[in-house]
């Protein structure tokens, strides 16, 4: 079931069950987070890797982009740890 439609009501109640509603909210939040994250990665990696747009992506531009995505994910992990695993 996609996260935007409501499930059929159960046991005669007039709306979605609490649990189904909670699942829907979680799914929508996860999707919104993923979209925002991807948009940030696109922006960062475009500015780092595509300095002179040509008529196609060169091999070095493609590998730069791959590394950039990995590094940005790693940076997110490092920041998370810095804030929550060893606060001063």
């Amino acid at each position: 079931m996609d996260p935007f439609s409501s499930p059929a009501p159960s046991n005669g109640s007039s709306g979605p069950s609490t649990e189904a509603l909670m699942d829907q909210v979680k799914a929508q939040l996860a999707q919104a987070y993923a979209e925002e994250f991807l948009e940030t990665v696109r922006s960062k990696c475009f500015s780092k890797c595509i300095t002179k747009p040509g008529t196609g992506l060169s091999g070095s531009e493609s590998s730069c982009i791959s590394r950039c995505v990995e590094r940005y994910i790693e940076a997110t992990r490092i920041i998370g740890q810095a804030l929550f695993n060893s606060p001063r």
Binding site: R71, T76, I79, R88
Partner: protein, 74 residues
Amino acid sequence: MENSAELQRFLEEEKQKAMVSEMVGKITNVCWDKCITGTPGSKFSSSESTCLTNCAQRYMDMSILIMKRFQSMQ
């Protein structure tokens, strides 16, 4: 109704989690620009990863300081 209290708790918890994610996202955004100055490599240098850690913690220190200054001006 029980459902309503459970939902309230759930929504409050999800709100907190979303605020934390947003903060981590914002700080990663800012600290990437400060610390990763060259072309991304296949791993971070130790100065890059140290910079990221320091940056995150200094950003939080700054945030607390700003709140204090702001409150003392009310």
